[in-house]
Amino acid sequence: MADLEVPNELRREAKEHDMYLHPIDRDTYELFFGPQHMATENFSIILKMDGNRIEKAIVNPGFLHRGFEKLAEGRPYFTNIALLLRICVPESDVPENIYSMAVDEIVGWEVPERAIWIRTTVLEMARVSAWMFWIMGFGNEIGLYTPGQWAAAYRERFMRLYEELTGGRVYHIYTVPGGVRRDIPGDRWLRQLRDTVEYVKGKMKDFDEILFDNYITFERTEGVGVMDKRFALKHAVTGPNLRATGVPYDVRKDDPYYLYDQLDFEVPVLKEGDSLARVLIRRYELEQDLYILEQLLDMGPPSGPYMVQDARLKALPRFKPPKGDAYAHVESTKGDFGAYVVSDGSHKPYRVHVRGPSQSHGVTVLEELLKGARLADVPVILKTLDNCPPDIDR
């Protein structure tokens, strides 16, 4: 036990609390929850259980750590797009966008209006498809497979549109500093997008009936994993989780980027702060996102270039922004997704630091909320917090 990976302070503390003395702590038992588990996806929680109640939870992330931030320091600015988008798999457009926004700010580019429209649309599409994914995940966690299967199938429609627009299904490598990589394929694509939005909107009723208005969904989520406003702010919980505690903070409203200050949408807020509130908030947000997409389609893409006109872009690998740093953040379905980019004037970023929303609600908050919860609540809490392990690991 000599080379145990625990620092000395800890070991002392453990000794003080009589932790090592017994090989088996008899009153509680340990349950390893994940990573090879249906509910956690590449994430591990070590649960100290008493009966069916959790006494203590320890989060063990890091199964997805690839060292993006180190890798990004070794790759040119534009190559990094292909790398960083892998941080958030269900919404790969979000890391693309924050990185591009930050670089745009450092360089001082005014992104063309058409590109802005496309970026906004792509982000909203990402949000809707991520909600679809979330419905599937949440349904599976509470044992309701039907709406999830439907939702994942609806997501495929968005995937098809993405393929047509960007060429990729999951990883699009589409938004780049200065604009987007390709233009919209044509009006047919816009029509298809509108059809898809209408279609999914029409299916909202099904989801309501089967999932969001289900007696047992209420039973399972009501009063589970409650956090209050103060707790949420202190723990930097963002996104739907924060809005479920009564704080109307939405990056799209409070720090508007792209077209969001021109769009009409509401930020749903609930006060309860329990899992049910988090579920319902997500449901309302899905509705709002569909509405935003409709507005964007009504607005139509402005004409013009889809990429800034800059001589430096001729030799992309050698593209050098000026010295400087910038922080950009967007509202993803999981919360406030931010990136801090530092440039030292060379052709590679000096430092890229990504703030995934799960970093704040996936570790300390999760550990706190799991205390005293039932074992059956673990997946519910995990999924209503919408914990995304790659955010934490990167």
Binding site: H37, M38, N52, G143, L144, Y145, T146, Q149, I216, A376
Partner: protein, 297 residues
Amino acid sequence: MIDWKLILEVIGILLYATFMGFIFMGIERKAMARIQRRVGPPLYQPIIDTLKLLGKKESISHGFIYDFGPVFALGASIAALLFIPIANFQLFSSNADLIVVAYLLEVPMLGIMLGAMSSGNPFSAVGVQRGLLTMVAMQLPYGLALIALIQHWGTFKLSEIVALQGAQGWSVTVPALLIAMIVFDIVFQAMLGLEPFDIITAPAEISMGPMVEYGGKHAAILFTQHAVQIFAETAFFAVLFLGGASNLLELLIKQIAVLFIAIFVASIYPRFTIDQAAKFFWKWPTILGIIAVLLTV
């Protein structure tokens, strides 16, 4: 004197029940897939699965009880089946009554739990805990539904219950027994281990619970057991409330009808937690059961 006819019947029914049980499991998966707008696996998929599990070249054990558990479960399921009148085949049903069958149908659970416990896996242990609490919870409404039935027909014998239903109409046509059937149907959901009472396996919570350590031939035995059990339970339902059957086809139609109710309920409800399930069972189904019982006194 060896009753060759009976022996042949027993073998025939056992083969039929196992096969149909697998097909029922296939129907379950197929119907679920259709509800989820998928194509779904072929109906005989569970048979392939079981064959594959049986064909595993390796198997692990945690001691004698671990091996004994599934074997005991399958044995008890087969025993239960033999006492249920299957259509026009009476088998042993004149030699045991409803209570015996009801108990025999519960024994497999004990077998599975025994095996699961002996693995020492905490997930299995939580599954065992949940399984037994589900059983405790559902026992009261289940018992009340059976009592209402017995009180109405005045007999414990399954074969007589079938005969009486043939003469006086199905149990469901009696209002009190209709209530009993609703209660029984709720309990039935838990007996089949389907949502909202699939608390025992709960893949997202405890990764299959008691089944988590089973693989290879043990799992194959448990799958066979599940097939026999599903056949026996649906037949039990049909015998008790749907007037039994005079031939296997009629029985099959009734069994599938029963199964479809279960599948539809399962596909639109999430899973309860175990304490919620207990509270639920002791609330509405119990009240309904008491009403049914008092109506039939």
